[in-house]
C-alpha cells in the first residue's frame, strides 16, 4: 500500500505550522529532493491558510484535514479539505496570491466546493535525491 498521511485538526491558525512540519517529515522519508519537498509544503500551506482564514468565516470553527499520499511513479497527491463554506469573492488588489501559488507549483489542481472546500493537488513523482546535489540554487550575485 502507498505511503500516506492523514491528519484532522481544529482549524486554528496555530495548526498550520504543525501540519506543515508533519507533511515535511513525511515527505523526507520518501527521499525527495529538498526543493520538491519545500514546494509541496508551500502549496499545501497555502491551501491550509485558506481553510483557516476563510472556511469558517461567520460560523462555528470546524476542522481542517490534510491528506498526503505517495504512490511511487504516480507521484504525490495532497488533499486539503474543510467543512466550511467556500467564499466567492471579487479580486482585491494585494490579495488572492494563495491559489495562484498552488497552481504555479502543482501539476494539477482541482477544487470542489459542494460541502466545504476540498483542494486536491498532484505533484510529479519525487525525484530521489541525486548523489551529486546542487547545494545552492539561489542567485548568489546579490540581486535576485
Amino acid at each position: 500500500m502507498a505511503s500516506e498521511l492523514r491528519i484532522k485538526h481544529v482549524a486554528t491558525v496555530e495548526c498550520a505550522k504543525l501540519l506543515r512540519h508533519a507533511l515535511s517529515s513525511f515527505l523526507n522519508v520518501l527521499d525527495m529532493d529538498p526543493t520538491s519537498r519545500d514546494d509541496i509544503v508551500t502549496a499545501a500551506g497555502e491551501a491550509l491558510v485558506n481553510a483557516l482564514e476563510h472556511a469558517y468565516t461567520g460560523q462555528e470553527l470546524g476542522t481542517v484535514e490534510l491528506y498526503a499520499q505517495e504512490n511511487g511513479s504516480e507521484g504525490v497527491s495532497i488533499i486539503v479539505s474543510d467543512n466550511g463554506s467556500f467564499i466567492v469573492r471579487d479580486h482585491t488588489p494585494g490579495r488572492g496570491f494563495g491559489l495562484p501559488i498552488v497552481h504555479a507549483i502543482a501539476k494539477t489542481v482541482s477544487i470542489e466546493t459542494d460541502k466545504g472546500t476540498r483542494v486536491k493537488m498532484m505533484f510529479d513523482a519525487p525525484n530521489r535525491t541525486p548523489s551529486v546535489q546542487i547545494v545552492n540554487e539561489g542567485d548568489t550575485s546579490g540581486n535576485v
Binding site: T35, D38, N143
Partner: protein, 111 residues
Amino acid sequence: MNANSTFDTIALAGELDIARRDEVRQALRIDGPGSGILVDFSEVVYADSTVIAQLLRFYNDAGELKRRVAVLIVAPQLIRLLQYAGLSEIFPLFTERSAALNYLSEVGDKS
C-alpha cells in the same frame, strides 16, 4: 558599502505564517517619512502568502513616503514563493546584505 548611509531595519525570523500575522503587521508599519528601510528576512525560513500581502502593502506605503526599501531574503523557499506569486520582479529583493545596503545608500531619498 557607503559608510555614510543610514537606514532603518525591520528584522523578522523563523516561520512567518498566518499564526504570526498580527506580529508581521506590527513589524511592517511605516510611521512617516524617513530613511531607507532594510527588511531583513535573512533569518526567515518559511513564509506564506499572508506575508506577501503585508510586504506588498508595506512596499506601497513606503513608496508613497518616498522611502526606499530593500528586502533581504536568503531561504530558497521564500525566493521561490515570491517567484510563484509573480512578485520577484516587483520588490527590490537581495540575497546578500552588502548588495541590499548598497542599494539603500545609492539614492538620496532620505529626509
